[in-house]
């Protein structure tokens, strides 16, 4: 299997190498995530927001070490990396406060005895994320997604595997169920296959040319959502 390498772009020093997951490995991870989501979607909003506050605390407790990890792995100045982690904690605070209202059912008058619009989870969301803000890009997408009752499979950019693993651990340490947020370590093509996996209900993507190429190959018929970002032009999508 190919390796995924974390290196310091200041001096080209290899920091850590990871064995990438085989197709068999990540298929199991995606299936486990789908199982975990079936329980997670039944949890109360109170429970979810409590865990979000734990995650904010976890990020703030480790702001220095996470900041150092980010800076070392992708090259941004250390103060900005620390600021990024702090901003992630703020995003957790925001959704802990606002999500209950944002996802509350809207009652709408119609010819029914009762009609309403409800905001229900989609299922497993595949998050393909870029390296430029290794923590923030992940947090700003998956914190709201998880709060809405979804589970996450994260395919992070291939040059920030340490950040990906640290984020997965942070969610577990905050008390989220193990497997609710799972990282798969695969090069770009692997993500292309994962995107077509029928259990994946949505995708949130940011990425550069490599991701764009695969997007144009795989039309991702079951995928509904993308997200904006650098040159992120989504392929045609249904609906």
């Amino acid at each position: 299997m190919p390796t995924i390498t974390s290196l310091n772009p200041s001096n080209d020093e290899v920091l850590q190498e990871f064995q990438s997951h085989s197709e068999g490995d990540w298929s199991k991870i995606v299936e486990r995530t789908a199982d975990v989501q079936l329980d997670w979607r039944k949890t109360s909003m109170e429970h979810r927001t409590e865990l979000l506050r734990n995650l904010a605390a976890q990020l703030r407790r480790n702001v220095e070490s996470y900041g150092r990890l980010i800076a070392t792995e992708m090259g941004k100045p250390i103060a900005q990396a620390i600021g990024e982690v702090d901003k992630c904690a703020g995003c957790c605070d925001y959704y802990a406060e606002e999500a209950p209202r944002q996802l509350a059912e809207d009652v709408v008058d119609s010819d029914a005895s009762r009609s309403a619009v409800q905001y229900l989870p989609l299922g497993v969301v595949l998050a393909i994320m870029p390296w430029n803000y290794p923590f923030w890009q992940v947090i700003r997408a998956i914190v709201p997604a998880i709060t809405a009752g979804n589970a996450i499979v994260l395919k992070h950019a291939s040059n920030v595997p340490q950040s990906a693993m640290a984020l997965e651990a942070a969610f577990s340490e905050a008390g989220f169920p193990v497997g609710l947020m799972s990282t798969i370590l695969v090069p770009g093509l692997g993500a292309g296959r994962a995107r077509r996996w029928p259990g994946s209900r949505a995708r949130s993507e940011k990425g550069r040319a490599r991701a764009r190429r695969f997007r144009s190959i795989h039309r991702a018929p079951r995928c509904r959502r993308g997200s904006s970002g650098r040159g992120c032009k989504p392929g045609p999508h249904p609906q």
Binding site: C91, A148, P234
Partner: protein, 209 residues
């Protein structure tokens, strides 16, 4: 200085970094002088040194791609004001760089430059600058800098972008939706709109017997 920050934060590798600077003719020379001074003064080096303002790019191939974009812009007639060389030695460093006289048809105007390279274009009236700004396949963020904020709000109506900031650099904020138009993607992140990207909007209709 806001312009140099907007271009070089995150080592210039942000989707919302300011990449094209469209400047009214009457303030162009003054702006370019101040911008050049600010970019030249940035301390470049090891990202773990707390005094560093600009670290290396994330990968060497990205640095080489950026340098190629600079070279193509200069070949097409852009003018190098500051920076521009690809340093020897280890790491993926690239110096703070300013290209002036950048016009539609040049690489630095038509493509996104993901690194500390600013493209400056001088234009005439505000309406002409807005037209130039819209000559892009992308439309994520824009910022307008002026003492006349009411006029800026009017100009903002004509900009093809998902976000417009007036007298502030474009940034993300958990409370406000973030996203773009044209080739800058679809959907929104953050805010109430962002969380609703990840839901099944269910219509429920019940008739009581």
């Amino acid at each position: 200085m806001a312009a140099s920050q907007a271009r070089t934060l995150n080592n210039g590798q942000s989707c919302i970094a300011a990449k094209r600077f469209l400047v009214a003719t009457e303030v162009h020379d003054e702006f370019l002088a101040a911008f050049s001074a600010a970019m030249s003064a940035l301390s470049v080096g090891d990202q773990l040194d707390p005094t560093t303002e600009l670290g290396p790019l994330a990968r060497r191939d990205l640095r080489d791609e950026l340098h190629d974009q600079v070279s193509r812009t200069l070949f097409a007639g852009g003018r190098l004001v500051v920076g521009g060389g690809r340093p020897e030695g280890p790491g993926a460093f690239y110096p703070p760089t300013i290209l002036a006289g950048v016009q539609p048809g040049m690489t630095a105007f038509d493509e996104e430059l993901f690194g500390p390279v600013a493209a400056v274009t001088s234009g005439g009236t505000a309406a002409e600058l807005v037209k130039l700004a819209n000559r892009s396949p992308y439309g994520l963020g824009a910022s307008i800098w002026t003492a006349d904020t009411e006029r800026a709000e009017r100009l903002a109506q004509d900009l093809d972008s998902g976000m417009v900031f007036v007298n502030g650099i474009v940034k993300s904020d958990s409370r406000l939706p973030f996203g773009g138009v044209k080739a800058s993607g679809y959907g929104r992140e953050l805010g109430a709109q962002g969380i609703r990207e990840f839901v099944n909007v269910r219509t429920l209709w019940v008739r009581r017997p």
